[in-house]
Amino acid sequence: MDIIFLVLALLALFGATSTIMFSNTVHSALGFVVTVLALAGLYALLNATFLFMVQIIVYAGAIIALLLFVIMFLNIQQSHAPKEPNKYLLMLVSAIAIVPFDYLLFKAFYSMSFAGDANITTKDFGNIKMLGNELFKNWILPFEAISLLLLVALIGAVVLARKKERA
């Protein structure tokens, strides 16, 4: 259990740093895939079996595939990538600037004092039956709102990305 967590956490951190470090866009996207899959493994470790599946299908399957498709559709070469002469200096400065915020977050969560083990849950915690029950009993209105949002996003994407006709 512990060794799996360590391996997955290191993979997630490695993928995240490589995402923001690489200058080649496709390499960054592949680093992001590593992070997403490691996070899916962490969800499985936390008994969220349905979210594990959704993470792999939606993120690694749909979002990153769409991202790579757009990168290749626009035919982004290495020469198109913007020149970033002081990239590492900016990273260092922003990483130092973010430390107080991190400290605040850590203190806030630390004061919740997660002492001891988690609550004992039933065997089917996090599987699709329990999640569906909860979703369609107590969360039906947000669920419908999300479906409306997806429809709006679909129409918006079609309208935004089509070629303008020169009339």
Binding site: D2, I20, A48
Partner: protein, 106 residues
């Protein structure tokens, strides 16, 4: 052996969130900024799922699933905006996307 408590998950999520913020601040490639935004959403999802496991309630996982749906909708709109901006400017450098900037300031 290191004891894995729930603070480890929280700590990992905080570090991933900060890496996302650093990426947004320091890079100029619009695709990498987009991936950093997605990284921040993912780290929030990790916090939600681990708290859901800790408190033994399904609400966190449901909110995490809704965040994923919103991230998918956001991905579609963001990428189509990038496509139309690239047609206009032929660049993926965010410094070139300054059509709304008022001249004379900065």
């Amino acid at each position: 052996m290191i004891e894995v408590s729930f603070m480890s998950y929280i700590l990992l999520a905080i570090i991933l969130f900060s890496i996302g913020i650093v990426g947004v601040i320091s890079r100029k490639n619009i695709f990498i900024i987009y991936m950093s935004l997605e990284l921040m959403l993912n780290s929030i999802n990790l916090i939600l799922v681990s708290l859901s496991r800790y408190f033994g309630s399904m609400d966190g996982q449901i909110i995490a699933m809704m965040v994923m749906a919103i991230a998918a909708a956001e991905a579609v709109v963001f990428l189509s905006l990038i496509v139309s901006l690239y047609r206009l400017k032929h660049s993926i450098n965010i410094d070139d996307y300054n059509s709304l900037k008022q001249k004379g300031i900065l």
